[in-house]
């Protein structure tokens, strides 16, 4: 039986099939979840090679857990988000050696200086700013604003409460606004 990323089978059904030895199901899961794992890893780490390494590690864990997967308990995509972001957070901790919640406090209103950048510069500037966020804030912001997860989904992925997600996201956005304002100055976009 052939599968592709558009298969109507759920991720969970594909994972169960893979656990029973179906190689085509694994290829369909790779097509669906591989890019997700890579994208999140890249946004968390900002490095393609590291992102590939981490995404592969996340998928490896998925293959290994497949035979013991408990149906109905969690979405496979949420599991991938959780494992990928947690692995990325661990790497960031080792890389920086700082606490997760050491967020720079930023004054309100900094975002007003962000308008006017072209799309490419904006994407690049955001990537650089994300790299400076504490890991947990970055995790929450990436999942909420770049991956489009809801706060309850992020709470499940991060294994924290919804209010904690809201707090992390708010602090992350505040820090991003300040960092991007600084970036705008560096790029020569002066205030109007």
């Amino acid at each position: 039986m052939a599968f592709d990323a558009q298969s109507e089978l759920s991720d969970e059904a594909l994972l169960v099939l893979y656990g029973n030895g179906d190689g085509a199901a694994a290829r369909a899961l790779v097509a669906r979840l591989g890019p997700v794992a890579f994208r999140v890893a890249f946004r968390m780490l900002g490095d393609r090679t590291e992102a590939e390494d981490l995404a592969q590690e996340a998928m490896l864990r998925l293959w290994k857990i497949a035979p013991e997967w408990r149906t109905g308990e969690a979405k496979v995509s949420t599991w991938i988000y959780r494992v990928t972001t947690n692995l990325a957070t661990d790497r960031l901790r080792r890389r920086r050696g700082v606490g997760l919640d050491e967020a720079p406090e930023v004054a309100d209103g900094a975002a007003s200086a962000l308008e006017g950048l072209i799309a490419h510069d904006r994407a690049a500037a955001l990537e650089m700013a994300l790299a400076q966020l504490p890991a947990r804030q970055r995790q929450a912001v990436v999942l909420r604003h770049l991956e489009g997860l809801s706060n309850p989904e992020i709470a499940e992925a991060m294994e924290i409460g919804v209010e904690a997600v809201e707090s992390l996201t708010a602090r992350g956005k505040r820090a991003l606004a300040a960092l991007l304002a600084e970036r705008r100055e560096e790029l020569g976009y002066g205030h109007d």
């Binding site: 893979y18 030895g21 190689g23 694994a26 290829r27 899961l29 790779v30 097509a31 591989g34 890019p35 890579f38 994208r39 890249f42 946004r43 393609r48 992102a51 590939e52 995404a55 592969q56 998928m59 490896l60 293959w63 290994k64 035979p67 309100d108 209103g109 900094a110 975002a111 007003s112 200086a113 962000l114 308008e115 950048l117 799309a119 490419h120 904006r122 994407a123 500037a125 955001l126 990537e127 700013a129 604003h145 770049l146 489009g148 209010e163 809201e166 707090s167 708010a170 956005k173 505040r174 991003l176 606004a177 991007l180």
Partner: protein, 145 residues
């Protein structure tokens, strides 16, 4: 509540961030196709390793069951003969009987050979040899004379 006010502030103050998020979503990093192929191969490797491990575990289980079945058969026989102790005694007795049989066989061998006519042949042969040597001695003495 303070938390709610902070979020309201965020929503108002960080509206400009959405343009950055949109730009970043549009420029989402994509993995190389070769990398995804490698991921799929990794899945196959893991599946193969799992199948091999399961086959090895199954083989080990079958071997254990066969061993236990053999032990079960011996135990059944032992029970039929009155338990392991009796079977051990029987084994000892059988060994003793074997040794005794060997001794009896060796002890009875001459009479058995005699009864079969084998010993008389040997004796006759020995007597002929003695006679031949005696004749040779006599001939030698005659030549010397």
């Amino acid at each position: 509540m303070g938390m709610t006010k902070m979020h309201d502030d965020n929503d108002r103050d960080f509206e400009g961030l959405e343009a950055f998020f949109t730009a970043a979503r549009d420029a989402a990093p994509e993995p190389e196709p070769a990398f995804l192929t490698q991921m799929a191969l990794q899945a196959e490797v893991i599946a193969t390793e799992r199948r091999e491990a399961e086959a090895a575990a199954l083989a080990a289980l079958v071997a254990r069951r066969q061993t236990s079945q053999k032990r079960g058969l011996v135990a059944t026989l032992a029970a039929a003969f009155g338990g392991w102790g009796a079977l051990g005694g029987m084994a000892g007795g059988m060994a003793t009987a074997t040794v005794a049989g060997l001794w009896i066989g060796l002890a009875q061998a001459p009479s058995l050979m005699q009864s079969m006519g084998l010993q008389s042949t040997v004796v006759a042969s020995a007597s002929a040899e003695e006679n031949y040597l005696n004749d040779a001695d006599i001939l030698a003495l005659a030549l010397m004379d």
